[in-house]
Every structure is written in C-alpha cells, then in structure tokens.
Amino acid sequence: MRQSIIQWFKFGSPQSFYPLAGRMIPWFWAAAIAFGIAGLWISFFVAPTDAQQGEGYRIIFVHVPASWMSMFLYLIMAFWAGLGLALNTRVSGMMAQAIAPTGALMALLSLWTGALWGKPMWGAWWVWDARLTSELILFFLYLGFMALQAAIDDPRRADKAGAILALVGVVNIPIIYFSVKWWNTLHQGSTINMNKAPSMAHTMLWGMLLMALCFWMYSIAVALTRVRAIILERERHTEWVKHAVA
C-alpha cells in the first residue's frame, strides 16, 4: 500500500511526468488521426442524407463531440485542480492549467458549429436555447479561469486560486444548466426542440462516437504538449530540467 502511494507520487512529480508525457504524446496523436480518419469517412461517405435536414445535419459530427469535450474537459480540469488543492501535488495544478485552453477551444467550436447549424435549420444564428446558453456560460467560466491564472504571478498561488474557482464552477454548472433550461421553457421563445430530431441511425451514432474519440485523443495530446511546456517554464531553475533539455 505504502509502496504504491510512493509510486503514485513519483509520477505526480514533474521530473518523472515530463518524459512520460513526451513518450505518450505520439501515441495519442496516432490514435487521434486514426479515429479522425475513420470518423470523417463515416461522416461524409457512409452516413446517409438526412430526410429532414438534408446534408446540413453532417455538422453534428463535429458539433456534438466538441460540446461533449467542452463539458468533460471542465470536469477533468476541476478534478485535477481539486486534487492539487487536496494533496498539494505539483503536477495537478499544471494539468488544470494545460487543459483550460483546450476546453475553451472546444466550447468555442461548439458555439461556432452550433451557430452554423442553427442558421439553416432554425433560421437564426443564435437562439436562447438552454443548451446554447449554458455552453456560452461554460465558455465564460473557462475564460474566467484562464484570466485568473494569468493575473496571479506566483504559480502556486495561481493554482490554488484557480482550483477554488474551478470547484465553485463545478457546483454551479448543474445549477446554471437547470436554471437556464427552466428560464427557456418559461419564455417559450424558441419552438424548436433538439430532442425532436429523428431517432439516430446506427451509422450516425458510430460516426459521432468515432469523432468524439478523435477529439478526446486530440485533447489529451495537446494538453500533454502544453503541460510539458508549463513544466519547463515553472521548473526552469531546477537541476533536472537542465539535464532533460540537453
């Protein structure tokens, strides 16, 4: 038991995590590209034309994975942040910091593709739909996290402050989602309901899953690349970094 904890902390140290991340990155890239090619093939050549939405529905193959990832990544970011706060491991805060920009990018892509999908289907770039609105708020939460970390000079303090904010956000995200949903149904502004879409064909589901896996692998690869940079930036005055870069 004791041994395994020590082992765990070993990988929790930047010194051993840096080369480990370096070895893992190419594998995640390979997986991302493989899943991406398969997913794109299904998206464009296997999945049939939708009876109602024509070819326009194909946006779903990037829109849904981006939305999923934006939410997953927030949870993972908060998990690392909370771990850092609880156990005071150095890598945790760096991971949270490395994930945030990718999460924000996914939220942005989700909003962008959502707008491009909404225009031909609903006739508007933006509707105050519950999902769209909470995605927008999620995007703001990411920006807030990044801005707070950037504004604090001492990295250890920045990690802790960011962790508290991320955890407060985790508590708030469900509250925000349900409040926005209720607000939206009360207003009855948009008559379009995404749930009414025709039951999804198997091929579509496969396409979406493969694309989601591609986005997963991509996110991990990018976050690991960024965490390597962050490790070097923060630990640049330690002995091991000088040897690692040689």
């Binding site: 070819e55 946006i59 829109h63 981006a66 962008w112 991509y218 070097l232 870069v245």
Partner: protein, 64 residues
C-alpha cells in the same frame, strides 16, 4: 456512397457554407492549437538551451 461527383460532394446539398464552415473552423483551430502549444514548448527549450550555453561560456572564461 451517395455522392455522384466531386462537385456534388463540395456542394453538400446546398449546405456547403454551413457544413464546410463548421468542419473548416474545427480543422483550422485544431491545427493551430497544437502548433501554438508546440511552439510554446520549443520556445522554453530554446531559452533553456541558451541559458546552458551561457553557463558554459561563463565557465570557460573563468578557466582561461
């Protein structure tokens, strides 16, 4: 396969702007982001290598 020609594929049944706008934005940003992350990493590395060089030069000058 539902496409009969390349043109038809790119036309996307009249939704070309929306479909390619979405996929294009994803491709662009998901190409740019790793590129930026990579550059950040190599910038730190460069500066670390420069620092090492400076250390070595300082040492040489001291010895000579």
């Amino acid at each position: 396969m539902q496409w009969h020609s390349i043109d038809e594929f790119f036309a996307m049944g009249g939704y070309a702007f929306y479909v390619w706008g979405s996929f294009g934005a994803c491709a662009l940003l998901m190409f740019a982001e790793p590129f930026l992350a990579k550059r950040r990493l190599s910038e730190v590395r460069q500066s670390l290598i420069r620092e090492r060089l400076a250390d070595e030069l300082e040492l040489q000058q001291k010895n000579s």
